[in-house]
């Protein structure tokens, strides 16, 4: 870990890939983490910001630091063909790509600890020689140069032999399952407990080509022979959307894969945030200590949602101010900070959900109509009249004069509109004091116009 971890590193980037050096110390395992480290294939799904990448990094770290018995781990990032893949094409991709990664992972272990190979039974050495020669792709010299960085001299010699000796012709046309079962027995003979394959990069492929990726993964997860060997397991961590679409794969239905949903309880999110704050401050800290006003903690709980990202993101400005001042913030101070960096308002117009920051906000049906209209037109101001006719009455066009279709007398709807807007503000604005300036639904005084601020 860097000893001078700063706020940006700890609370701003929020990308686990960039936090690897110290993530282990800030990491709070999901409650089923222990099960996920078990010798079985897993399919873990979580929403954005739920900590999927952190989980994967920590699972890999767990596997890598496990010494007795050790695990052989490799990451496989599938490269899809341009066409939809049948199961034999998936098998071909899996064998050529994942076995390449595994071969290299095996050599990485060997350069550091060649004795495991030299002391293994001859049949296991024969198989692994064949396996590496059969599946390791690309230039051997390039691999050697990469491996040399962390090699012992014996290790490098062993690996050089593995890359140059002629193997016995063991399995010229073996089916994938046969190769996997032979491989696991061979590595077990070297003292490994088993093999873990992390299937990486699925979410980014899913965003680019959802149908093709879904078919590819479903075909992979429906080919049951890959999952029969308890020593060869897959660890798959994906977004909730992709994960749900994979539930129909036979491997999932027949429980070859254990499925987990990353979910966080409020107390876990508090602990997780406090742990990271402590790492930054180099001393234990409670979130309630950051501010003297209890309301700030209620505010955090309301808008941080149920993901680690939400909690860390919303805590950041308060923590920054706390660091700057060197003491707990007063009510005025935290409200100032909050106004300077308010959580943004977002509407999911498909589902009809309203979010502030990462928390869902309940809005009445009438309020939602107004808010949705304002949100769709959030780059401009709207008059009350426009809001009444277009949003509430849902007219295609705002009537301007008596003769226009749908026109109503101003006095008949002004009160309705004012009440609706007042109720909407009550639902949306945190500070409900009469004299507090609204953060989201802003009236332009003297112009009778309204617009949204602080939106996505």
């Amino acid at each position: 870990m860097s000893e001078s971890l700063d706020l940006t590193q700890a609370f701003e980037s929020l990308r686990a890939e960039a936090e690897t050096p110290w993530l282990g110390q800030a990491f709070l395992p999901p409650r089923e983490f222990g099960l996920m480290t078990g010798p079985y294939s897993i399919l873990v799904m979580g929403e954005d910001g739920s900590g999927k990448t952190a989980l994967e990094i920590q699972l890999k770290a767990y596997a890598a630091q496990k010494e007795t018995p050790r695990l052989l781990i490799a990451s496989w990032r599938p490269q899809l063909s341009t066409e939809a893949a049948s199961s034999d094409q998936v098998a071909e991709a899996f064998m050529s790509q994942a076995m390449d990664s595994l071969s290299f992972a095996f050599l990485q272990t060997l350069v550091r600890d060649p004795v495991i190979y030299s002391s293994a039974p001859s049949w296991a050495r024969d198989f692994l020689l064949w396996f590496v020669q059969r599946y390791l792709q690309d230039d051997r010299e390039y691999h050697l140069s990469r491996l040399a960085e962390r090699a012992t001299s014996d290790g490098l010699e062993t690996v050089k032999r593995l890359l140059s000796e002629t193997p016995r012709s063991l399995f010229p046309q073996s089916a994938p399952a046969s190769v996997l079962s032979h491989l696991t027995e061979a590595v077990k003979a070297l003292g490994f407990q088993g093999i873990w394959i992390f299937v990486d990069g699925l979410d980014s492929l899913f965003r680019i080509s959802p149908d093709r990726l879904e078919q590819f993964v479903i075909n992979l997860l429906s080919t049951l022979e890959y999952f029969e060997d308890p020593a060869f397991v897959f660890k798959v961590i994906v977004s909730r959307d992709l994960g749900l679409s994979l539930q129909k794969a036979r491997g999932v239905l027949t429980r070859r894969f254990k499925t987990y949903h990353i979910k966080w309880q409020e107390e876990e999110l508090i602990r997780l945030t406090e742990r990271r704050a402590a790492l930054l401050l180099k001393r234990d800290v409670s979130l309630t200590q950051l501010c003297k006003d209890d309301a700030w903690f209620q505010w955090l709980k309301k808008y941080a949602g149920d993901s680690p990202r939400g909690w860390l993101d919303l805590t950041r400005p308060i923590l920054a101010s706390y660091l700057e001042k060197g003491k707990s913030l007063s009510k005025t101070e935290w409200l100032d900070v909050y106004r300077q960096s308010p959580p943004l308002l977002r509407l999911d117009l498909e589902t009809g959900h309203v979010f502030i920051g990462y928390g869902k906000v309940d809005v009445s049906a009438i309020g939602y109509k107004l808010l949705a209209y304002l949100y769709e037109n959030r780059h401009r101001s709207c008059t009350k009249s426009e809001l009444y006719y277009r949003a509430l009455r849902e007219l295609a066009k705002e009537p301007r004069i008596k003769e226009d279709a749908g026109w109503e007398d101003f006095s008949s709807w002004e009160g309705i509109m004012d009440t609706a807007l007042w109720r909407l503000r009550l639902a949306v604005e945190w500070n409900k004091c009469e004299d507090a300036n609204p953060l989201y639904i802003v009236s332009e005084r003297g112009r009778g116009q309204i617009h949204l601020e602080n939106t996505w």
């Binding site: 110390q25 480290t37 032979h182 049951l224 022979e225 999932v252 429980r255 070859r256 499925t259 402590a278």
Partner: protein, 421 residues
């Protein structure tokens, strides 16, 4: 539980120092010790990996169909117990130390359906012969006397036959020299694992004898695949003294193309099953452990032969699932008790197993999934407070049930959808 994370004391601390205690508390299965279990009877959701399967299989009616000397079709939905029944049947064949029992051959459809065209009898026989050779080699490995007692001429024929079909036999003989046939079975086909070891001196003699034959010049064999199949089964049933050959077909829904299209799966199998009744005279009995979805498709294609097959559908009700859990508890506690109620804080009048059976989709694997989750919840709670009573609490069960009803809902819906056809 208070997590002991020492970041302030040492920046070099292991990345897992603060979670290791928790992980181990989950992974160590303290409940085994707390409840007096000798092993975890809920561990294996996949039957072929379960060495204790024979101690708690239920459903003797279905087993009797699998065991009787006639071709048979045993249908079930995914997770319905097909593989468990197949493995149980195969292991039953070896009860009594070999000989005079049926000889089991596992047959899984091959991975590659070359452009969807895998359906002729010859193609099936090619694969069956391949698996038969594995079965024979492993039978000799587990029970060397079967081979060693055979006359030298037969030994030589069998050895050369094995060498022809397992060209890298010297590799497997090296593995066998380690003394663990399970290790070879794990590589060739895990279904053959019998979880036992033969007498080392007999195994050594077997290896020497086979190596002796391997050094000899092989006699060329040029026979059709049908003839090879006939010769192979004749060796088994007549020369080696097994009373029958049981061909155990499974894994038909193991590939997405077959799982998605029951009609295609049935088409791939029809020529194999059409021949099955004619094999009974040679005491070869084909047993299909098949997904329920293909039954109507297969029946439509096998109208004439259909009555020749003994048939059964593996159906599960609450009482059977409750019994499944109880038997596992009974086996794992060496008969000390047969219900999780004995280690729970529930009122004794409550039939816990029946309650759990009612809560799950009616398949054995689903019942096991729920029980495992209850044990996880127990372990987790106990890990957080190791002074708490070592009994399953109502909250453990409620949490597991909530997990099953919410997180597992998509899987349950999909299973129900398959059942509806």
């Amino acid at each position: 539980m208070k997590l002991h994370w020492g970041i302030l004391n040492s920046i070099q601390v292991s990345v897992f120092s603060h979670v290791s205690m928790w992980i181990f508390s989950v992974m160590e299965k303290f409940w085994l010790n707390h409840f007096g279990f000798r092993f975890d009877p809920f561990e294996h959701l996949e039957a072929s990996a379960d060495s204790n399967l024979n101690r708690y299989l239920i459903g003797y009616e279905t087993f009797s169909i699998a065991w009787m000397e006639s071709p048979a079709l045993l249908f079930s939905p995914p997770g319905g117990g097909k593989t468990a029944l197949r493995i149980y049947t195969a292991r039953a064949c070896w009860t009594g130390a070999g000989g005079y029992q049926p000889f089991p051959i596992h047959y899984h459809l091959p991975h590659y359906f070359q452009k969807g065209n895998f359906s002729t009898l010859e193609e099936h026989l090619e694969q069956i012969v391949h698996s038969s050779v594995h079965a024979l080699f492993l039978a000799f490995a587990y029970y060397p006397l079967i081979f060693l007692k055979a006359p030298p001429t037969l030994q030589k024929q069998l050895a050369q036959f094995i060498f022809t079909w397992i060209p890298n036999i010297d590799y497997y003989l090296e593995v066998l020299r380690d003394g663990q046939p399970d290790r070879i079975a794990a590589q060739l086909d895990r279904s053959y694992q019998l979880h036992q070891t033969p007498d080392p001196s007999l195994l050594s003699l077997l290896c020497e004898t086979l190596e002796k034959y391997l050094a000899e010049q092989p006699s060329p064999i040029s026979l059709s695949i049908q003839k090879i199949f006939e010769r192979l089964t004749k060796w088994i049933t007549q020369d080696l003294g097994f009373r029958a050959v049981y061909l155990l077909l499974d894994g038909v829904d193991g590939f997405p193309e077959l799982a998605r299209s029951p009609g295609f799966a049935a088409e791939s199998l029809v020529n194999l099953f059409a021949n099955a009744p004619t094999w009974t005279e040679e005491r070869i009995f084909l047993k299909g452990f098949l997904p329920l979805e293909i039954r109507t498709h297969l029946q439509a294609r096998l109208e004439k032969q259909w009555p020749a097959f003994g048939q059964v559908e593996l159906k599960w009700d609450e009482a059977m699932l409750a019994d499944l859990i109880r038997r596992r508890v009974y086996a794992a506690t060496d008969g000390e008790f047969a219900s999780l109620s004995a280690v729970s804080a529930l009122p004794s009048v409550q039939d816990l197993e029946l309650e759990l059976a009612r809560a799950v989709y009616p398949l054995p694997r689903e019942a096991l999934v729920l029980v495992k989750q209850i044990l996880f919840e127990y372990e987790k709670r106990w890990g957080e407070n190791s002074n708490s009573e070592k009994r399953i609490q109502v909250e453990d069960i409620e949490k597991a049930l909530a997990w099953y009803r919410t997180d597992q809902a998509p899987i349950i819906e999909e299973l129900a959808s398959i059942a509806r056809g």
